[in-house]
């Protein structure tokens, strides 16, 4: 299908974009367009105007800071995957991004776009939550930083206010005794997952000391399951016990490819896959 009628505004500065957005409730930010344009072509959205921020300068840098890595909102998935800082310090993010869409889409889709869209099936929101990332937004009253876990409020719903634009994400560095492990199940490479899991694991002499589990494509937002993590750390993996615990912790939502019951099963299996990966 074809997109509905809208007008187009190419922002020259961040403050222009913020001003424009604050004055028109129905105007919407256009970054890489790789989620927004499909939604427009399918007529799932009918904004008054697209505020194109894709040509703003200085919003796509990737830098190593004292204890963190900063990724600017407009860094494309390809740029992140090819960054020497990310390859060295965050190899797990490179392997996660390999599962995000296809090369031609990663060439345009942005890190900040994926984080702001808040698609519950997307990998990056879950990664940001697993990493305890800080999300930085800029608005009429200056900048504000939000913990990733508080950023996602519901289905495609985030804490970005009507005058705000996401400008970057700050990820704490992974420590020597920490590991990021990732697994997802999907029918075709590059498709959105039927269920996925990102785990941050702290080990001590090869036993798991602390475990943070964040699921995606399971509910209406990235799902953190702290009770289940505790059970795994203390008692190990037992399919029926874990399944019961997950069903009480996640409000599963089915989609076209998989029912709630199937997602619950897949989520349970994902934990065993992650544990196997850790053993190796």
């Amino acid at each position: 299908m074809k997109a509905p009628d809208f007008s187009y505004y190419e922002a020259e500065t961040l403050s222009d974009a913020i001003k424009f957005k604050s004055q028109d409730d129905e105007a919407i930010i256009l970054a890489g367009g790789q989620s927004l344009l499909p939604a427009l072509n399918m007529r799932l959205s009918s904004p008054s105007c697209l505020i194109d921020i894709s040509k703003l300068k200085d919003l796509n840098d990737i830098r190593l800071e004292d204890n963190s890595i900063y990724i600017g909102a407009l860094a494309t998935h390809t740029q992140v995957m090819e960054s020497s800082i990310i390859i060295e310090k965050f190899p797990s993010l490179v392997s996660i991004l390999k599962m995000v869409a296809h090369a031609a889409i990663r060439n345009k889709g942005t890190h900040g776009g994926s984080i702001s869209y808040g698609d519950p099936a997307a990998e990056l929101p879950a990664f940001a939550v697993a990493m305890n990332a800080e999300i930085i937004v800029s608005g009429l009253n200056g900048n504000r930083s939000i913990a990733a876990e508080d950023f996602y409020l519901g289905l495609f719903e985030t804490d970005i206010k009507s005058d705000e634009i996401l400008i970057g994400i700050n990820y704490p560095l992974v420590k020597n005794n920490e590991k990021i492990v990732f697994e997802e199940i999907c029918r075709r490479h590059g498709d959105y997952a039927m269920a996925g899991l990102i785990a941050k694991v702290k080990t001590y002499q090869s036993t798991i000391e602390k475990l943070k589990l964040v699921f995606f494509a399971t509910g209406d937002r990235p799902n953190v399951t702290s009770k289940t993590s505790e059970i795994v750390v203390n008692n190990g993996y037992e399919y029926s016990v874990i399944k019961k615990s997950l069903s009480s912790e996640i409000d599963f939502a089915g989609d076209l490819n998989s029912s709630e019951e199937m997602k619950l099963h897949l989520a349970t299996i994902l934990i065993s896959k992650i544990l196997k990966k850790l053993e190796n």
């Binding site: 505004y9 344009l37 072509n41 296809h102 490479h189 590059g190």
Partner: protein
């Protein structure tokens, strides 16, 4: 600071300069290109899934159904009609040699994606090649011949 329904853009398409072209804000690039006669760019899904509309913009493969014509100001655009470089010659010859098309609907997008794969000059297993082209649907060939053509193109450029 004003939003417009018709946007004026200047860009280069297949080596030719297009100056001060007026495009509707809502028009995607694939529709613009096809309207100008560059009908090698095909439209299957208009949601990024099939890959038939893949073109090159500023040196990178992109989906022309997911770029607005109003966004191309200052860009270098190449469609399947505009390639005569050595890498594309190798790729095209191998597609012919292995009969890697039947109806041809997917071919422009496949060629564009293949070019980007081949440019990396990295040996890939057949399984890896399949992952790399997972964003391009072919409803005819069953992919075997396409994988053959890509495999041989990679070997030739390394």
């Amino acid at each position: 600071m004003s939003a417009k329904k018709n946007i004026t853009v200047s860009f280069e398409l297949n080596g030719e300069k297009f100056d001060n072209v007026i495009v509707p804000a809502r028009q995607h690039l694939a529709d613009y290109l096809r309207g100008e006669g560059f009908t090698g760019t095909h439209l299957g899904c208009e949601q990024g899934a099939c890959g038939a509309c893949t073109i090159e913009m500023d040196g990178k493969a992109v989906r022309s159904c997911l770029v607005l014509a109003s966004q191309v100001n200052g860009s270098l655009i190449k469609t399947v009609e505009g390639f005569d470089d050595d890498i594309m010659k190798i790729v095209k010859n191998n597609f012919l040699k292995h009969n890697a098309f039947q109806c041809g609907f997917c071919s422009p997008g496949m060629l564009m994606t293949t070019k980007e794969i081949v440019l990396k000059k990295k040996k890939l297993t057949r399984e890896e090649i399949r992952s790399e082209i997972s964003g391009n649907y072919c409803r005819c060939t069953g992919y075997q011949s396409i994988v053959d053509a890509i495999e041989e193109s990679i070997t030739e450029v390394i």
